[in-house]
Amino acid sequence: MSYNANLKNLALFEIGAAMMVFAVLFHIVRAYQPPAPMVAVATAGAVKPPTGPAVQASETK
């Protein structure tokens, strides 16, 4: 519309603004991290703690 109305520089500005918006959108979607799921207390209590060392002494060398 702007271009056809001979507002050519406005058309250029609008395309640039749209690209900036795309950049912001891309950034927001990429940076979004969904919140960690809630864990029920009963379920959490049912998980057994590890009994032995997670890493063997020989593996740390």
Partner: protein, 413 residues
């Protein structure tokens, strides 16, 4: 041992994997391009952003070539035709012009960022030297581009170029004849050949030696850079200027911002070869010598006061000469030569004084700070990332989508 993933049944994925597999037979597999999954400071990949603008310039330049005619009789008229009659010619020309400014600016910013962060170390000397040559060629490419318009500004640039080459010792006259030829028709076709073929070819070859193996391309930042180029084009559309007429002397005009510094040197009236050739060459030689002088293993600008002070002093010199180059005596009653003349005494005094003050001041301050913090342990603080909640992320996305949808609709109608 990682379990081998199941082959995809998707035809497009299969095609991409097939291409990647065959690319292993080419040199491209040696280059690793990373698309970061979170925000990275664009300062680290300014070179890639410069390359993005180079590609944009290649594409828009190819479109402009379809309509441009490099003859002294028609050069200006064809550009006017592109501007006014060719569909979307205004947009393409403006993107090409502002893209060239962006490329020069990004290349200079890239140079200084690499300089201050000491990236020329760790066996990067070849990348550094080719980058410097690329920077100089980028300015030449931009210079040869706006001469093609054949307006009064182009005439000024050409007359500066001709007088500079002519002032070169020993081979001046031959060099002038070789580069510019004789007459308007010859210089236009030569500049056109340089602009669309010779210099881009040189740049492409140099890029093969300049590109490191590991590259980063952040899509939103690259898109934002293109967006800024377009917005600048919308706010400050490039004008055609006055068509150059050899029968009438051109009015007072100044060259592009990346050449006004050089223009200021020439306007001081001293020997053109010294002011327009030797003095700018000193800056280039300084950058060329730095990786071979700075053998310190430290990278941070804070730990290298000598080179940090040198770099900041050079920025001050560039800014002073660039701003001064725009100045023209406003008195219209004076002759043109006098209005353009820059008094060398205040000009060079300010350059020398500012260079000394900047260098000595910054160097002394940094040395004192290093001495004071010698016994203290440096604490590195990392900026906390800004995170949006789910609700605000959704609101932002919806608002931005509405804006883009509205823009698309207005562009179509």
């Amino acid at each position: 041992m990682a379990e081998k993933s199941k082959p995809s049944s998707n035809l497009i994925v299969k095609l991409i994997l097939w291409i990647i597999d065959r690319l292993e037979r080419t040199i491209f597999i040696g280059v690793k391009i990373t698309l970061p999954k979170k925000f990275l400071s664009p300062l680290g990949f300014l070179g890639m952003l410069t390359f993005v603008t180079f590609v944009i310039l290649g594409v828009t330049g190819a479109v402009l070539m379809l309509y441009y005619e490099p003859t002294s009789a028609n050069a200006y008229e064809t550009v006017k035709n592109i501007e006014e009659k060719v569909p979307y010619g205004f947009l393409v020309r403006n993107i090409h012009y502002h893209g060239s400014n962006a490329m020069v600016f990004l290349a200079v910013a890239h140079l200084y960022y690499q300089y201050f962060s000491g990236r020329y170390k760790i066996r990067n000397e070849i990348i550094w030297v080719t980058g410097l040559i690329l920077g100089v060629i980028t300015v030449l490419e931009a210079f040869s581009g706006y001469d093609l318009l054949f307006n009064d500004r182009a005439e000024l640039a050409v007359s500066i170029g001709v007088s500079l080459t002519n002032a070169s010792p020993v081979i001046g006259a031959q060099l002038q004849q070789f580069i510019w030829g004789s007459g308007f028709a010859e210089f236009l076709i030569r500049l056109y050949a340089l602009h669309v073929f010779v210099i881009p070819l040189m740049m492409t070859v140099l890029m093969l030696f300049h590109f490191p193996r590991f590259l980063v391309l952040d899509v939103p930042i690259a898109t934002a850079v293109v967006g800024i180029v377009l917005i600048t084009g919308g706010l400050l559309p490039i004008e055609l200027g006055v068509k150059f007429d050899p029968d009438f002397p051109p009015g007072i005009t100044v060259p592009e911002w990346y050449l006004t510094g050089l223009y200021a040197f020439i306007r001081t009236g001293y020997d053109k070869f010294f002011t327009g050739g030797v003095l700018p060459l000193l800056l280039i030689l300084m950058f060329l010598a730095v990786p071979f002088i700075d053998r310190n293993r430290k990278f941070s600008w804070k730990d290298r006061p000598f080179f940090t002070a040198l770099g900041l002093a050079s920025i001050a010199q560039i800014l002073i000469t660039t701003v001064w180059g725009f100045y023209v005596d406003p008195d219209p009653n004076k002759p043109t030569v006098l209005r353009l003349f820059i008094d060398p005494i205040p000009f060079y005094s300010l350059l020398i004084l500012s260079g000394l003050v900047m260098y000595v001041g910054i160097y002394g301050y940094m040395r004192a700070k290093i001495a004071m913090s010698a016994g203290k342990k440096r604490v590195i603080t990392r900026p906390k990332p800004i995170t949006l909640s789910t609700r605000w992320t959704t609101v932002a996305i919806i608002l931005l989508l509405i804006f883009d949808w509205h823009t698309c609709l207005t562009m179509q109608t």
